[in-house]
Symmetry: C2
Subunit: 138 residues, 2 copies
């Protein structure tokens, strides 16, 4: 029962997936300016590898030929439960900013949050789940 080292073996891939899934990122520039400080050569390399691994797709935008839209595939969006559990764990064990209510929220609403993430993906809704550092989930 092995762990895919394709994304969990490096520092950036999972952050890219999270940003696609939760923050609603779509373009190279958004990743570049996200404050994560990822170098552009590494970003290009990781996007290439995630695409090769069937986790994201890269399509040129219609209205602007320079832009490329990156999106999660079904395989990619199926990582939502992993991400959610990871965020729950992080909130419980790694945060100092009173996260207790948040943890309860996330655990109680696990299925609802996952459903919402999947709905957004299906409908190509680009709005982030997270707004200005605050959770929008009721």
């Amino acid at each position: 029962m092995s762990i895919s080292l394709e994304m969990f073996g490096d520092r950036w891939s999972l952050l890219i997936i999270r940003d696609l899934m939760i923050r609603g990122f779509r373009t190279f520039k958004e990743f570049q300016e996200s404050g994560e400080e990822i170098a552009t050569n590494i970003l290009a390399d990781r996007l290439r590898k995630l695409e090769a691994g069937g986790i994201i797709t890269a399509d040129a935008e219609q209205t602007d030929g320079r832009k490329v839209n990156y999106r999660l595939t079904e395989k990619g969006i199926d990582l939502a439960p992993v991400l959610l559990e990871l965020l729950i764990w992080g909130a419980r064990h790694e945060k100092t900013e009173a996260p207790c209510a948040l943890i309860e929220q996330m655990e109680k609403n696990r299925e609802r949050i996952l459903a919402e993430v999947r709905r957004r993906w299906r409908e190509r809704d680009p709005a982030p789940l997270q707004v200005r550092g605050q959770w929008r989930w009721p």
Copy 2:
């Protein structure tokens, strides 16, 4: 909502955690000989960092002063849901060996498997995880 790069930012930490949690590994030598081909200096470094991060403990064994027993802390065992979701995802998307039954097993028995993992941790049961003797985790 950030992802802990302490373990998810490198190639080996998560494998070490999995081996502690599921395969029942306890000692340096077991990791060394697990077939993962991790270099001993890196292994020592990762064990040190996981300990510093509060995810594992390192205790000298009573009966043999050379041996060190590594175990997950509560913070560490709380990663079980993450691991399980990751294994489910891997089984669904990355395996060729007829995993359909296995996926169903894992998804249907999610809570039972987690309970079993936690029980073994609580009782310090070193046996690798099996589910009702039906199948093993290689």
